[in-house]
């Protein structure tokens, strides 16, 4: 009985003490849209992603102003007029992996993550696909999805509607490292 209890205690409490949290401070996040007149592309390498392998919780945060555009005027307009990034400085995602894999299986898993996306101060329930490669001491996460400007109340004036696509493709690539407590 004592043996069973101690094993049990070891498994449930002991295992909680070893790290199950994963973090990336330098996720690459790009946005891209194509229109007849002008391609819009921007990139940051300062995205933050955290993952709890036991609960399947995934958190993503990105500073809007960290997105770097090749066209600086576009960057200024993006921050000032479209994203209003002084008012809404962050884009966030707070979700849970629906088909949580066993992290002992070192291979690539195709996962669905359901949760709340917050952009431009607007919260929406979304599901995004993640391809997660589990290695011994790092995770490689990849994701590609589209967001609609209208869903997040990002106004595109009629005058420039041809210059700006109404859908923006978002790509995320991150290497997550285990956090030892």
């Amino acid at each position: 009985m004592h043996k069973i209890l101690s094993i049990y205690t070891f498994i449930f409490l002991g295992s909680n003490l070893t790290g199950q949290l994963w973090l990336s401070k330098a996720a690459t996040i790009t946005i891209f849209s194509e229109t007849p007149l002008e391609n819009i592309n921007a990139k940051t390498q300062n995205g933050s992603i955290a993952l709890n392998e036991r609960s399947g919780k995934v958190l993503v945060k990105m500073q809007i102003k960290s997105l770097n555009f090749p066209k600086k005027l576009m960057q200024e307009h993006f921050n000032e007029n479209y994203m209003e990034s002084d008012k809404y400085p962050m884009a966030e995602f707070d979700g849970e992996i629906q088909n949580l894999p066993s992290f002992s299986e070192q291979k690539t898993h195709e996962l669905r993550v359901k949760g709340t996306m917050t952009i431009h101060g607007i919260k929406r329930e979304v599901e995004i696909p993640i391809s997660l490669t589990i290695n011994k001491n790092k995770l490689i996460g990849q994701s590609k999805f589209k967001i609609k400007c209208v869903d997040y109340k990002i106004d595109i004036p009629k005058l420039v509607v041809k210059n700006i696509a109404e859908e923006i493709e978002v790509t995320i690539l991150a290497e997550l490292n285990q956090i030892k407590k």
Binding site: I4, L13, L23, K25, S48, S55, P70, K71, E76
Partner: protein, 311 residues
């Protein structure tokens, strides 16, 4: 066995709690990984490099080219305005084409050509440059400070009359004028920005009783009324008004306009009292009198082209 079940369930509960606690840790972990700049630069104090007459602290970014057309029509009312000239539309007071290029984010150079605003010199070329000295920052330096300066020269034919203001026979240096400004600007909030600019002008050739060197204070403001539309205004006050300027009843230049931004273009629909566009023209020589209806419509168009992409 009963005890075992209890411990088992209790343990399960605790471990569930600990997973929830971990999710809280996860959130803290994420937040701690984000470093925000507490002194981030204040951007977009003004939408473009110029208000109506006054330049702003905004610059063309590195590798970008700003092509501008500025146009001033004739007097709306008064003796040369009214219905017979369709309220000034039939006349062109001044028109200027210019190219400004950003060598660095903090340094731009420009070249322009204007008709000349009816103040003696016409066919005016100009070279100018703007340097950003200080950047306004949140919780940091409270102002933006820039230096703007340049020269104009005329390619017009010299008037053979020795007393003429456009006789350049003695020296071609008389074709040159210079201007310099120190720009102090502040974006007060998301909607409102102001700028004050001590100004110096040097003209090599002036009329009898006029000053070669003149000082002025310029002030301007931009107030956004929607995301893409703003009201802009500026005013120049000449400090050392010469006896010649008193004799010709010199007037201070005033501009008021509507600024509309449409992505790569910025469009100004404006009223100005002065007829000229360049600093060394409208500041010392303006005689257009607001109260006599000598105010005009005008427009500025700015189009940005990206010449070289910078990463």
């Amino acid at each position: 066995m009963q005890l075992f079940k209890l411990i088992f369930l209790g343990g399960f509960f605790i471990s569930t709690l600990s997973i929830m606690a971990q999710d809280e840790d996860l959130s803290k972990l994420l937040d701690s990984s984000i470093t925000t700049d507490p002194h981030e630069p204040v951007i977009a104090s003004f939408k473009t490099t110029r208000l109506i007459n006054l330049t702003t602290i905004e610059q063309v970014k590195r590798g970008e080219l700003d092509f501008r057309i500025a146009h001033r029509f004739g007097d709306i009312a008064g003796k040369s305005g009214g219905a017979s000239t369709f309220f000034g539309f039939d006349n062109v007071s001044d028109i200027r084409f210019s190219f400004d290029y950003g060598i660095l984010d903090r340094w731009q150079i420009g070249i322009g050509r204007s008709k000349g605003g009816g103040y003696g010199q016409t066919q005016v070329f100009d070279l100018n440059t703007k340097v950003k000295l200080m950047q306004q920052r949140k919780n940091g330096f409270p102002l933006a400070i820039s230096l703007f300066g340049g020269l104009t020269f005329t390619t017009m034919e010299s008037n053979s009359l020795a007393s003429s203001i456009t006789n350049f026979d003695r020296t071609s240096a008389h074709r040159f004028n210079y201007f310099g400004q120190l720009l102090f600007a502040k974006k007060i909030n998301d909607q409102f920005s102001v700028i004050i600019a001590p100004t110096i002008i040097h003209r090599n050739l002036v009329s009898l009783g006029d000053n070669n060197i003149q000082f002025a204070i310029a002030a301007g403001a931009r107030a956004k009324i929607s995301k893409r539309v703003a009201i802009i205004a500026d005013y120049y006050h000449l400090l050392n008004v010469s006896s010649f300027q008193k004799a010709i009843d010199h007037q201070m230049p005033i501009g008021l306009g509507l600024e509309i931004e449409t992505g790569g273009h910025v469009f100004h629909a404006l009223f100005s009292t002065n007829t000229g566009i360049m600093e060394s023209q409208f500041l010392p020589n303006n005689t257009a009198k607001f109260t006599a209806g000598q105010v005009r419509l005008g427009f500025n168009i700015s189009r940005i082209f990206t010449i070289s992409n910078n990463k």
